[in-house]
């Protein structure tokens, strides 16, 4: 179980490859891996967005994400989990968030990955400020519904 707050761009597929290589004790045990990657689009709510600033609450963010991952691990018998979230200045097409879980069966993997992601979107203390193409910037006021 690992939570990373990253102020540099990350490559989700390389991160998954690296993380999975370091869990040889799970070889043959996991049958299912579910992954979600959120990526920065160049539009939101009808406007073109050129760049974004992602603020977080250092300390509380990590603590909250670790709590979600631990609760989800208990509820869904997760064998492993990985959460990476970008902060700072983010460009179009940059990955913003990665949630990955490893389980024995697929049902648990699908449900746990989605649950972690929904909790993160609704409760983890991150805030997006969008830089619009017209030079203005604005705080994003709410996320789209996940269910």
């Amino acid at each position: 179980m690992k939570v990373i707050i990253d102020s540099e761009a990350f490559d989700p597929w390389k991160s998954l490859n690296d993380y999975q290589k370091n869990m040889p004790q799970l070889n043959g045990l996991y049958g299912a891996t579910a992954v979600f990657v959120g990526t920065m689009r160049d539009f939101n709510e009808g406007d073109n967005v050129s760049e974004m600033f992602l603020e977080h609450y250092p300390g509380m963010t990590e603590r909250h994400l670790e709590k979600i991952c631990q609760q989800t691990a208990d509820e869904y018998q997760l064998l492993e989990s990985l959460v990476i979230h970008r902060v700072g200045i983010i460009q179009t097409n940059d990955p913003i968030v990665l949630v990955a879980v490893w389980t024995t069966h697929r049902k648990q993997a699908f449900e746990a990955c989605r649950e972690i992601m929904e909790d993160l979107k609704s409760k983890a203390p991150f805030w997006k400020k969008e830089q619009l193409n017209n030079g203005q910037n604005r705080w994003v006021e709410k996320n789209t519904k996940g269910y």
């Binding site: 959120g38 992602l54 603020e55 977080h56 609450y57 300390g59 509380m60 603590r63 909250h64 979230h85 913003i96 968030v97 992601m117 993160l120 979107k121 609704s122 409760k123 983890a124 203390p125 991150f126 805030w127 997006k128 400020k129 705080w139 994003v140 006021e141 709410k142 996320n143």
Partner: protein, 81 residues
Amino acid sequence: MSIEVKFFASMRDLIGEDCEIQVDIIEQQSIKNVDDIWNFCANGKKRPNNVLIAVNMDYVDGKAHIKDGDEVAFFPPVTGG
């Protein structure tokens, strides 16, 4: 003997430049809970209905009591992910 108060994102813009305020609760004996902290720091600004509050990095509501050394944070609905 003090409380550290933090404001994030649009809540920091609302309050002004200071994003972290130290409140001395010996000098401010009327401060008992989170609502009192807001009133003390916000220069008369109304607290938006959707504001979220954390004490020592756990979510609480406005009636939560505070004690010496607590860290209190006010922030808008989160928009990560």
